[in-house]
Symmetry: C2
Subunit: 329 residues, 2 copies
DNA sequence: CCTTGACAAGTAACCGGTTTCACAGCAAGG
DNA sequence: CCTTGCTGTGAAACCGGTTACTTGTCAAGG
């Protein structure tokens, strides 16, 4: 069972060349004569040689692995993103190693460090941790990408989606429908996205229109649990922090015999795949996961190749009007 | 910027001991005198020493990383599972490296190999590949866990959920409600779960009850697209391969002005988080992701510690009756 | 004709740990 | 007093590659 591993030296010996040559053949970097290349490849095939990834990593100093730290893998928002990055990374020959901080601020530093220890860089999705933690991680000297969070002080590269503009447009959409009393269902308070979305709501200074914030939390359960508090406000439209909260809220409202959008209009944010399939289909803001994923990986790949960090990519998007919003009765 | 890395030798020198001793102190395996231990730890702290994970891996022969191959990360079923395994593995000090085969049979072998190259073992979630591929992967000599697929010929360990019994119960539930013409909406044909669920449907030999299979595919889009074919059968109840298909189908039926469960009852399978929040809430079969995740990791950990492979854990579960099923009109 | 340079290939140091083995010191046993 | 047996420690081999440096060959240039 425990067959001796075939190493580069076996191949070298069998092909009658030096280990350096074998290494070169597989690295495809330096030039090796056609004849030797053929002999090496032949010997390798005969012996069933496979490069030892860990040894390569140690010797070359790079692992071809990148860490990804997610606050909550249970949120469809993230796995669409991850899935896209996975593919982009794959075609560059990189693997992704994933950790889930479970929305725990305290867990982020240790997880980040642990990931960095086994990888060439770290991608942090919507990190909530303080910037001193990010700084600490940056001290490791490896590339760090931050997604969905604006960091000014440190020279970290980041990919952002403009949350403000579409959120404002979405709010205006409800106002144009005739709604006057809006409720904004808040998400995780420490998240940058939440700050931006709430900022957009506050910026909505239309005479006669009021915006009431309600603390929720960003999950479906949170949304459902907010139904009563929402009803107590007497509002006619609710803009939720994200789709999950919106979906939860709609379920909660239904349970109270309130129809959406008949009695109350509800909107989400993110346009997760489910948003299209709820009834009513959810009015929301589309989050271009493919673009974000691709942009994130491309920037990460750039950093790995030595690009100077600090670049910031800002993507834009817009609302998607579906069936969960309608004029008030 | 490029500060010289602090190695075990620096620590050894600074503490006035040999590198072996430093290694032992950190390994906590062999005994080192209290005095030396203190001196080493002190020196390590002063110098800011961190063990080099890759070097440890090469020297010790184990990476403390386990690969996970998922057919489709966009399915909530899988990421709930992954999330649970992530946590279980984390507390044992293991990291998970994830790859998504994108439902592509052809991609599984290469991805599996690649993951195995950087890890101590491989967990395959609902693999669709032929058993010769699994065999090939097993030849690497590293532990392989198979989840949601029964493999008899190879001595692989596996964790399974009994799909047959609850699927049958679910079907009986619709029959007891009074339905006579059932449709079964099929998922990915090569998946073991699909086979089991369909087997349960076929086993339903109740006089006067017919079961019509319809090819769908397991995604929400597939479900929606099946609406017309479903309606053409004139059935009164549809049992979908999984929740995604069911949710898609409900959306599709709604678009045709058909109400669920008023006109047609619909059931799912998996009990993904959304199942509770759709309207109507979905009647389905609960899949205990926490248990599956925990069992999978525990068995994997066992294999990593030298347990003999071949064990099989079969978990059981049952239907959850919600609002998407009702007596026929 | 001799030098210079480009290039192919080999030698050996190195990446940063782990672990086998040898050795020293000391207590117990004969 | 001399073995025998542990235990704690160090020296050095080793894990399996990469790569800086060296050597040798051969063609072009002076």
């Amino acid at each position: 069972m425990s067959t001796e591993r075939v190493t580069i030296r076996h191949v070298a010996h069998s092909a009658g060349v030096s280990v350096a040559t074998v290494s070169r053949v597989f690295a495809q970097s330096s030039s090796v004569s056609e004849e030797l290349t053929a002999r090496v490849l032949d010997a390798a095939r005969r012996l069933g040689y496979t490069p030892h990834a860990v040894a390569q990593s140690l010797a070359s100093g790079r692992t071809r692995v990148v860490g990804v730290l997610v606050p909550n893998l249970a949120n469809p928002y993230f796995y669409a993103l991850i899935k896209n990055m996975l593919h982009e990374a794959d075609r560059d020959g990189y693997r992704l190693i994933v950790a889930d901080s479970d929305e725990s601020l305290a867990a982020e530093p240790a997880l980040g460090m642990s990931l960095l220890g086994r990888s060439d860089g770290l991608i942090m999705l919507s990190p909530r941790c303080g910037s001193e933690v990010l700084k600490e991680l940056g001290l490791q000297g490896k590339p760090i990408m931050v997604v969905n969070r604006q960091i000014d002080e440190l020279g970290l590269s980041s990919v952002l989606l403009d949350n403000f503009t579409p959120m404002r447009q979405l709010a205006m959409h409800t106002v144009e429908l005739g709604h006057r009393h809006l409720v904004y269902l808040q998400g995780p308070v420490r998240s940058w996205q939440e700050k931006e979305r709430w900022r957009a709501m506050r910026s909505l200074r239309v005479p006669g229109v009021t915006v009431t914030p309600i603390r929720a939390g960003g999950t479906m359960e949170n949304g459902r649990a907010s139904a009563e508090r929402v009803l107590a406000t007497g509002c006619t439209a609710v803009l939720a922090h994200n789709d999950l909260t919106a979906i939860g809220l709609i379920a909660g409202l239904n349970e109270h015999g309130v129809s959406v959008p008949g009695d109350i209009s509800v909107t989400g944010f993110d346009d997760i795949p489910f948003a299209r399939f709820t009834s009513p289909a959810l009015t929301t803001v589309h989050s271009p996961q493919e673009d974000i994923g691709r942009a994130t990986w491309r920037m990460t790949a750039g950093l790995l190749h030595g690009d100077r960090p600090g670049a910031r990519t800002m993507l834009t998007t817009q609302p998607v009007i579906r069936a969960s919003t309608a004029p008030p009765k």
